[in-house]
Subunit: 390 residues, 2 copies
């Protein structure tokens, strides 16, 4: 992948959002240098970890980056990092309370700097995916109808959305700089990404008009028809009918056309409308359930595919890990061994990019400071001896 | 917002992912023209809808775009849309089975075209957020420990992540085109985004090593400490301690330092380690619960904030809708009235961008074909009369 060939990005960040952004920039061809404190940042040992203790999380999110370890509490360490940022011209961070990494300070060293500063909240106070998700109201509408308490989803979804919003901001600023020569200071708060996310789905408008909470609806797809069914061999499938075509296919394959026609008359509904399918979703599911309960997954799979029904199978994570999908690959990660690893999902002119491994912490300290800042072996030795470089 | 000033993007897409991408490109300054069939695409009336029936979903996702309605079953309609795409040079679509919209066909008309084609699966077969999420194993680890069945989360998270991956791809290709003059054909499958998402969190590596499913853990944060607590006035808060500092702050404010010190000795654990906090998460939660149960939300809020504990409050969607956060605004949406609306969460040089409304379907048909393709009033009249334009 070469779209970002020649671009260098400095990352001073941890956890999911900013590291996942810089992972993508690397997959697109940028030379990403992640700067960590000596010994690693707060995310260095996060779960999940491999049997030997190496973090599967950290190594997955930091693949393809060069790793530099610097004592940033020392003035000399700060100066070295500042010089790296000034050289690269693109900087992504999520640190708080380090005025020496402020845009003002850095832009004084590189006028056309692109600096994206990631925050918890826009006022600078901290927030993480789990607190933000509670605040935007998603857990209160997740889970079964009879469940009073909020249900947190396990996917750190806002982190992942924020990561790709970071890349979007950096790349838009790069495009602008390419044409105008001007840099930019971009700020992005996880809490704002989440608020914009629920607003953009129309959910805030709905809540305003309704005035009360949308009732929980279990595994149903909101405003349409979609629900899970169990097969005769104890497997489970998610079946969805958003469009008229999908709804027609589902009725046909299950032989329920006459049933639903009669039901439309009896209940005075038009099941070609998503809204009506949603209104009587439990009835529809109850009518279809025996068809699935009578068939094995193999039969269900064959029949639904040949009828072009929109569906997916629930899989456990171990099965997903063994999926030979082309976007996945296996890499030999130092400290871990053979482990599943994802390519960038963006295929460029028909091809996926390569996958790679993560460096060990500080692996590229000497290489980077020698190559980028021209430090000599003697200088590097002194900086290691004095605890400035790790 | 002017980063993408002068850029024109043609969108032939529906549902969440691609429209949310083009919404963002518009917020960054691009002139986005959404092309729909006359009468609207499959997403035109999707829930949630306002009391008058106008889709809150469609209007939220299509704000700031110009709307063109064309009969794309007619050769003349296809030729008009092809000419629009050739003029703009950037095209985003998620359509299937329209060979006239293939990259090959379009690049013959504009050699440096950037075309991003969004798919369900990489093999071209259909998939949506709800089926993809089942397939990557997230519902099997979501929900309470005693719940055997998978729990779907309601947020179409993969759609939102995919949307920002679309903008990332388009902008990387633009940056490359700006420097090399070369266009690109990008493909992106929702299913690949989801597989890469769980892989990048280290979850596939974990599943491979464990060989069995990670047990469900309710509202707990995996691998660390985070859980919800109820206050004396029936409110609920999400409290998280990922770092040592956050953990120290939580113990201090709840006056449980001695308790946890004694517990560390008794159980031979080191609660400064996230992994150990996760292992005895139920015990920690049980020790802290009475502190929250004895205090009102106002008291909890005051005490946690002054102690710098990382926490968030569970809010219902109606309360979120009334949030005066700067990223949100109210717009007067034609067909709906006053409705909450989000700015782009990306602040550029200290400022949020503006919010705006969605056009009605086909509002800009004449304007666009006159301005971009130079069609005369007479030609437009003929095309309307013959049902080519709506």
């Amino acid at each position: 992948m070469t779209a970002l060939d020649g671009l260098r990005v400095i990352e001073c960040a941890s956890f999911v959002a900013a590291p996942s952004a810089c992972l993508m920039l690397g997959q697109l061809g940028a030379d990403v240098i992640r700067v960590d404190p000596i010994g690693g940042a707060a995310d260095y040992r996060r779960w999940p970890v491999a049997p030997g203790g190496t973090s599967l999380y950290w190594t997955a999110l930091n693949r393809g980056k060069r790793s530099v370890a610097v004592n940033m509490r020392a003035d000399e360490g700060r100066e070295l990092v500042t010089a790296l940022i000034a050289d690269a011209g693109v900087f992504v961070d999520n640190v708080v309370g380090r005025p020496w990494l402020s845009y003002e300070n850095l832009a004084a060293r590189r006028a056309d700097l692109i600096h994206l500063h990631l925050q918890g909240r826009a006022d600078g106070s901290p927030a993480v995916d789990y607190t933000v998700n509670a605040e935007v109201g998603v857990p209160t509408i997740t889970g079964g109808e009879s469940e009073a308490a909020p249900v947190n989803h396990v996917l750190p979804a806002w982190d992942l959305v924020t990561g790709m919003t970071v890349t979007t901001g950096v790349l838009a600023a790069l495009y602008e700089r390419e044409r105008t020569g001007e840099g930019a200071y971009l700020e992005l708060a996880l809490a704002d990404v989440a608020l914009a996310g629920v607003a953009n789905l129309g959910w805030l408008g709905e809540a305003q008009f309704r005035g009360t909470e949308r009732p929980k609806h279990g595994n149903h797809v909101y405003g349409s028809f979609g629900i899970d069914f169990e097969t005769s061999d104890g497997q489970r499938v998610m079946v969805v009918a958003l469009t008229e075509h999908q709804w027609a296919a589902l009725r046909k394959v299950t032989g329920t056309q006459e049933v639903f026609s009669a039901l439309e008359t009896a209940l005075n509904v038009d099941l070609n409308l998503e809204a009506d399918r949603y209104r009587i979703r439990e009835t529809i599911a109850a009518i279809l359930r025996p068809w699935f309960a009578d068939r094995s997954l193999a039969e269900v799979s064959r029949d639904l595919d040949s009828a072009r029904v929109l569906w997916g199978r629930y899989r456990g994570m171990p099965e997903v890990a063994a999926d030979p999908a082309p976007v996945l690959s296996t890499v030999d990660q130092p400290g871990i061994g053979e482990v599943p690893s994802a390519r960038s999902p963006l295929r460029w002119n028909g091809k996926y990019g390569e996958t790679t491994t993560a460096a060990s912490l500080g692996d590229h300290t000497d290489e980077v400071f020698s190559e980028v800042l021209g430090l000599s072996g003697g200088e590097l030795g002194r900086l290691h001896d004095s605890g400035i470089l790790g």
